[in-house]
Amino acid sequence: MLVHDTALIYGRYLRQSLRSRFALLFGMLTPLLYLLFFGPLLTGLPLGGKGSSWQTLVPGLLLQLGLFGGLFAGFTIVIEKGQGVVERMRVTPVSRLALLLGRVLRDATVLLFQAVLLVLAALVMGLRAPLWGVLIGFGFVALLTLSLASLSYALGMKADAPQEFAPLVNAVSMPSMLLSGLMLPMSLAPAWLDVLSHFVPFRYLVDAVRDAYVGSYAGAHVLYGVLVAVGFAALSVTVGTRVFRRAGA
């Protein structure tokens, strides 16, 4: 039943995404702009990484994509609650967990699609990276999206209006991006900032993807990245499930 219901909800929301092609591409506008107009500034700078500046920047942009795409996913459920769609689904016998999983799997699919386009654009700009590293990067984008979208939907279920939801998500997303070193590696940071960034989980993910992009798969960075990403996903999906299972507000 869970699989049937999840597939049903996934299909409904994926068709919804495919209908609005504009929204499908709009989500990747910010990282794309960074790639085009910020990336070229870094090509001659010493970033402390092993490969080219693209192998440092592109992993950061991929996670930026997942970070913003995931965190803002719950916005749609605030709108749907206003339309009565959420309650209408909740009076059917459909699995509560499927209502969450179908949505977050849709988000992961859309973000992966955008991630592939972003990497293709990066190849044109000059990125060269091993195939396995690129695939590992996609894996991290998917896990990050699943995690953040689950938390975001949970928050969206609790929020009564978009005006409540948006400021909170904004307050989380910008510091997360800056403190995890998505744009430039934290190895360039003064000690206090470097220490602070270790308290932000996304720091471990971006370090792992940067290692993967230079072909180093077996180091401590990738190990820590996997542990943090999987642990964070388990925690987030648990939180999301609890909120979706509980009836009413």
Binding site: M1, H4, D5, L8, R12, R15, Q16, R19, S20, E80, G82, Q83, G84, V85, E87, R88, M89, R90, V91, T92, P93, V94, R246, A247, G248, A249
Partner: protein
Amino acid sequence: MAAVISAAGLARTFQTKRGPVQAVRGIDLTVHEGEILGFLGPNGAGKTTTLRMLTTLLAPTGGTATVAGCDLRTDPVGVRRACGYVAQSGGVDAQITVREELVTQGRMYRLPKAVAVERAGELADELGLTGLLDRKTAALSGGRRRRLDIAMALTHRPRVLFLDEPTTGLDPGSRAGLWDLVRRLRDEHGTTVFLTTHYLDEADALADRLVVVDQGVVVAQGTPSALKLEHAGSIDASLQDAFLAITGRGPRPADATPIAV
């Protein structure tokens, strides 16, 4: 007649920043199979909260209730299979077509795909939506949108249909059409209909029996004629007079003083 809904002491208290609010203090009621029950009460009386509890959307904080023999607390899935619910706001996505919403709804009730497609066609016929299956729901008029909301709730042929202020905002023609539909559901399918409304003419014309709530408890119940006789002195009195007498919210002396212009 068999009871299809029975509630005893059903209550819900909300925890708010200003302390607990008792939205529903303890509802006792019985709804018989195949009747149209009008659930009346002033704004804030607890009508929607009661409806949300009976449809499993909100967990009660006190009391018990069964719907179609299933206990709200121990068998919410059984309750969901037996009832349909149309919220005040409706519940369709504006950008999706009528057909897709109806088919997806059928599949959420675990109908196989082919059956869900067939059922969508049947419902469209029955509710006068046939030519509109491929329109986006945003393109429907208010009356048609309301019929679609009801079609969604009828997908699984529920024994009990809950309608929360179904005719609010509809023109007189659409209202009359909706009354006919509700009567047809009772007469042809034996569906029990539990509806809330603020229109007392609607309650009078449509409901077999009325339950009046105020401040979270049942304050009166009976057929429209019985309530008029008991609370307004005559079966020829208006239901409005009876309602105002029951809820104690008749025109106050202050309202009678002329307003200075």
